[in-house]
């Protein structure tokens, strides 16, 4: 045997062994029935290929040994099983009819049983008995029928799949068909033994091995080229997603793209509690918090909100689906981004709408009063004129305060306000705020703030918080207002409460949101006081909560950093 021929034989054997290893690796990575059948098929083929490395003993005597006879039967059995396993792989994508299943089962296992039960098999170059000719015909029939069915199934099952999966399935289909043709052709060629290998056939086998290899475990670069149509579609989906402005628009945009990119029957976006937020296609796949990210026919990617995107896809299989899992994960990340952007936009819109609404009242009054002063001045009484002018001044001030507060809040939120980090006497802040606000004469104010209560922060801003809380107490609170402070480890807790009715329960959840106001607000205040208090206190490293007690039903608790 020439060196070239020996090299070809070794290369053939090597590629089929590598194929076996790769198929096992693919199975370990993705699991699933398809990967299991692929691994079984290529491990059997690899096992036969490995025999090429067995030392070949010469001499006719060896063909009579039990070992040689058993080995030949084993090799034939394995060879018969290879197309059968490929057919089983294809059947995981396209289930075969009962007739096909029965026929291929009987043909395959009947043939194996026939070979096992056969009398002495002749060695290469020996005279071949007539019954062996019949066996060979059945063998070729089994191989051809099974391979043809497997190849056709794999080819058809590739339809409607993402490009990379389709090409991979078609490489496997093409390899299966080519291997069958090669076997057919070589069986009609003059007998080839270890001493007489046909170089052309060996080169074709090498090419088939390569096709199987690429179909089973394609290099990343090739997948990237194959996936170009999907990449373009994903780019389009991304730009669509970025222009969606509501959560529903996000869902409506992402779901059709997912359906076409992943080849799904249906897509659903689930909320944290397991309820369907939006679904596309029918029926929506079920969602279970605890289930694994992928299983045959279903994929799932978590969302930051605690919910998930779940995709039902009959064509999904972990063997050809790794890219789809990556695509889904990428989409769920994008969806997360788009959803949080939409939430921010919605908050902003609500804020703007509320701010405009708040500005309407002073504007209504000012334009009305100004119009009357312009047109009706002559017919108005002195008293009406005075009241008009007073109203104008009052509403002008109100509009100015509102705008200042809005700007202040926007600046704090943007982080462009510099907060001092001084050591402040809390009792001074409380005293100054009480002086500044001048309580209504019918209120009793109790103050229990220790002289040594010192906190870290910005005196002016902290004063703003106390003034806001006091103003609220004067406006909505009871007759007695209680202010006290105490140590709590590294914090100082300042409580400001009154014995009024407390905050209505429906208002509590949104108490610190901008523009949340009680029905009895009576038009006073901007509805921004507590919102701005919270932003200031948090910027100072503290916290503010509504903390009512039976005695002080509307009590606010402000935790501040204690000065060391």
């Amino acid at each position: 045997m020439s060196t070239f021929s020996r090299l070809l034989t070794d290369a053939d054997a090597l590629i089929f062994i590598l194929l076996a290893v790769a198929s096992v690796r693919e199975y370990r990575r993705g699991r699933g029935a398809a990967a299991a059948w692929a691994a079984t098929a290529f491990v059997t083929l690899g096992a036969v290929a490995a025999l090429a490395f067995l030392p070949s003993k010469q001499g006719d005597a060896i063909y009579d040994t039990l070992a040689w006879q058993a080995l030949v039967r084993f090799v034939i059995g394995v060879l018969v099983l290879f197309p059968y396993f490929l057919y089983r792989l294809a059947a995981t994508f396209r289930p075969a009819s009962r007739f096909v299943r029965r026929s291929l089962d009987i043909l395959t296992f009947g043939l194996i049983a026939g070979f096992v039960a056969a009398p002495r098999l002749p060695g290469p170059g020996e005279h071949r008995p007539a019954w062996l000719g019949l066996y060979t015909i059945v063998f070729i029939a089994q191989w051809t029928a099974t391979s043809a069915y497997a190849a056709a199934s794999l080819w058809i099952a590739g339809r409607g799949r993402p490009t990379a999966a389709r090409y991979r399935m078609r490489l496997l289909a093409g390899g299966t068909a080519a291997l069958n043709v090669t076997i057919l052709v070589s069986s009609f060629l003059p007998q080839r033994g270890p001493n007489n290998p046909n170089a052309v056939i060996q080169i074709i086998e090498l090419a088939i091995g390569l096709a199987f290899f690429i179909g089973l475990a394609p290099p990343r670069a090739l997948v990237n080229i194959w996936q170009r149509p999907e990449s373009d579609a994903a780019r389009r989906a991304m730009s669509d997603l970025m222009s969606a402005v509501t959560a529903n628009e996000v869902a409506d945009t992402v779901m059709p793209h997912l359906r076409s990119l992943i080849g799904a029957q249906s897509v659903a976006i689930y909320n944290k509690d397991g309820s369907v937020f939006a679904s596309y296609g029918d029926p929506p796949p079920e969602f279970d918090i605890g289930e694994s990210a992928l299983e045959e026919g279903k994929l799932r990617a978590p969302l930051k909100s605690g919910g998930a995107i779940v995709v039902r896809s009959n064509t999904f299989s972990p063997l050809f689906g790794a890219d789809r899992i990556a695509t889904l994960q990428w989409f769920s990340d994008l969806t997360d981004l788009a959803l949080s952007r939409c939430a921010a936009t919605a908050r902003e819109r609500e804020f703007i709408s509320n701010a405009a609404h708040e500005l309407r009242t002073p504007l209504t009054t000012m334009t009305g009063l100004a119009a009357m002063l312009a047109v009706d001045r002559e017919v108005m009484t002195e008293d009406q004129l005075t009241k008009c002018v007073e109203g104008l001044v009052r509403q002008g001030n109100r509009a100015r305060e509102l705008v200042n507060t809005l700007l202040d809040m926007a600046q704090i939120e943007r982080g462009t306000v510099a907060f001092a980090d001084d050591i402040i006497d809390l009792s001074n802040i409380v005293g100054d705020s009480l002086d500044f606000t001048s309580a209504p004469s019918d209120r009793e104010i109790r103050v229990k703030v220790p002289d040594d209560a010192r906190v870290r922060g910005d005196a002016e801003r902290l004063g703003q918080v106390v003034v806001n809380l006091l103003t609220n107490a004067y406006r909505h609170g009871g007759k007695t207002i209680n202010i006290e402070a105490h140590d709590d480890r590294d914090r100082i807790v300042l409580s400001i409460g009154d014995d009024g009715d407390g905050v209505p329960s429906e208002l509590i959840p949104k108490l610190f949101d901008p523009f949340s106001r009680g029905a009895t607000a009576n038009g006073m205040g901007s509805g921004l006081g507590l919102a701005i208090c919270r932003r200031i206190v948090e910027a100072l490293g503290g916290s503010i909560t509504y903390d009512p007690t039976p005695e002080w039903r509307s009590r606010f608790r402000v935790e501040l950093r204690k000065a060391a």
Binding site: R360, T361, T364, G368, K387, G391, A519, A521, G523
Partner: protein
């Protein structure tokens, strides 16, 4: 002199509407909430200017209460609201409001609307 009931919880808006109507020659009676509005309705005003956002009840509830009471149901009602959306407007008109003006309003339009309400009332 026609008597107009003005209902608004914003003292300055109430004041503005009151002056605007008084200067135009109407007698104005006031209410600051829904309950007060229903009480003053029994003074049989010739028309009602009704704010929709009231502290104790919704303006639409006040309107429905007036329309449900046979003795009061004939009084024309003009809604005055900070909601400028068509949906609220259609809803209020469907509930029996005779006119709808959104804030901020033009004083002359306010007066014209009240005048036309009184005209239709006199015609019927």
């Amino acid at each position: 002199m026609a008597k107009i009931l003005v209902v608004d919880d914003e003292p300055d808006v109430l004041f503005t509407v009151k002056i605007a109507l008084e200067v135009a020659g109407y007698e104005v009676i006031e209410a600051e909430d829904g309950h007060g509005a229903l009480m003053r309705a029994w003074d049989y005003p010739d028309a009602i200017v009704l704010d929709l956002r009231l502290p104790d009840m919704d303006g639409s509830e006040v309107l429905q209460a007036i329309r449900a009471e046979p003795a009061l149901s004939h009084i024309p009602v003009m809604c005055l609201s900070a909601h400028s959306d068509d949906q609220t407007k259609r809803r209020m008109l469907a509930l029996g409001a005779n006119a709808y003006v959104s804030k901020p309003f033009d004083v002359s339009i306010l007066r014209k609307t009240v005048a036309s309400l009184l005209e239709t009332r006199n015609a019927s």
